[in-house]
Symmetry: C2
Subunit: 202 residues, 2 copies
C-alpha cells in the first residue's frame, strides 16, 4: 500500500462505488419518495450488504448529499465563469443565490430532509473534515468579497461563511415550511440581512 498509483486505483474504485450507491438510491427515491425507501432496500438494490452501505453513507441523508454535491460539481465551472463577470462580493453572491434558488425549486421534495440533516450535523465545524461543495463555494465567494474590500475583514472568512450558510439553510427551511413564498425573494432578503445586518441605518 506504499505504491501511490495503487492507492489511486483504490480510491478511484471507491468513488465509483459511492456513485453507484448514490445513483441506485436516487432511482429508488424518485420512484417511491425519500421517506419510503429504507436503507436495506438501497443496499439490496445496489447488491451490497447493509454494512457496506452504512460504511460509505452513515445516514440516509448522506446519499442525498452525495448526489447534490455531484450535481453542483458538474455545473460549478460554468457557473464560476459566469460569476466572474460580476463584481466580487455581494453581486456574485446574489447571482449565485438566485441560481441556486431555481435549482432548489426543482429539488423541493428532497430538500427538507437534507436541510435538516445539514443543520443538525456538526461536521462542518470539524476543521479536519473536508468541506462540502456549498461550503467551499460560500467560503470562496466570501473570501473574494473580503479581498475586494466588500466584506469586513475583522472577522475570519470562515466565520462569515458559516454565518451566511446558516442564514441560507434557515431561509430554505422557512421556504419549505411555509406556502406561497418566492424562494428567490427570500434569498435576496436574506442576503440583504446578512450583508447589512438588522440594525437600523443611521
Amino acid at each position: 500500500m506504499s505504491d501511490p498509483t495503487q492507492a489511486n486505483r483504490r480510491e478511484r474504485k471507491r468513488l465509483q462505488q459511492l456513485d453507484h450507491l448514490a445513483d441506485t438510491a436516487w432511482a429508488l427515491f424518485e420512484a417511491q419518495g425519500f421517506e419510503a425507501v429504507t436503507m436495506e432496500a438501497v443496499a439490496a438494490a445496489a447488491d451490497v450488504a447493509k454494512g457496506t452501505l452504512y460504511k460509505h453513507f452513515p445516514v440516509k441523508e448522506a446519499l442525498l448529499r452525495h448526489r447534490f454535491h455531484r450535481e453542483l460539481g458538474a455545473v460549478w465551472p460554468a457557473l464560476r465563469d459566469e460569476l466572474a463577470a460580476l463584481a466580487p462580493g455581494r453581486a456574485r453572491l446574489a447571482r449565485f443565490l438566485a441560481m441556486q434558488a431555481r435549482w432548489c425549486e426543482q429539488q423541493r421534495s428532497y430538500l427538507l430532509p437534507y436541510v435538516r440533516y445539514r443543520l443538525s450535523s456538526a461536521e462542518r465545524f470539524d476543521a479536519r473534515s473536508e468541506r462540502s461543495g456549498m461550503d467551499r463555494i460560500f467560503a470562496g465567494l466570501i473570501a473574494e468579497g473580503q479581498a475586494a474590500g466588500e466584506f469586513r475583514s475583522d472577522v475570519s472568512a470562515a466565520l462569515l461563511a458559516t454565518h451566511l450558510q446558516f442564514a441560507h439553510l434557515a431561509t430554505l427551511l422557512r421556504w419549505l415550511s411555509e406556502d406561497g413564498l418566492s424562494l428567490a425573494d427570500e434569498m435576496a432578503r436574506m442576503l440583504d440581512l446578512v450583508c447589512n445586518g438588522i440594525g437600523a441605518r443611521p
Copy 2:
C-alpha cells in the same frame, strides 16, 4: 367538556404530569448521561407506559426542551426587570446573551443534542405552534428594538428574530464543537455580525 373550569383542571393536571415526566427524566440524565437513558427507562421511572411518554414528548430531546423552558421561565421575570434598565435594542440583547452564555456553560453536556434538535425541527416555522421561551424572548427584544428605532423596520420582527435565533444556535453549535472558545466572546461577536452585517463599513 363545555365547562371551562373543568377544562382548566384537566389542563393543570396535564401540566403537572409534563413536569413529572421531565423531572424524572432529568434525574436519569444527570445520573447516567443523556445518551445512555432510553425512553423506556424514563417511562418506567415515571411509572407510565411508553406510549404516554411519547404522547407528551414525541422525541427525547423534547424532555430537555421542557426543562430548559421551565428554568428560563423561572428566572425571566427578574431578568426582564434587569434588562429594562438598559436601552432597548442591542444593549438589552447583548446583556441577555451574556447571561444566557453563563447558563449555557453549565448545561454544556445537554446542549449538543438540544441544539441539534432545535435546528432540525421545523416547528418554529409553523405559525400555529406556540413559541418556546427563547423564541418569545428574542421576538420581544427584537420588537422593542424595532420600536425604539434601533433595528430596521422594513423587515418583520418575526423574521429578524428568526435570523437572530439561527445565528444564536449556530454559535452554540460552534462553541460546542470547538475547544477553547469563550462563549461570551462568541456571542458578542455573533451579535455584532447580526446587527451590523458582514458588509464592510463604508
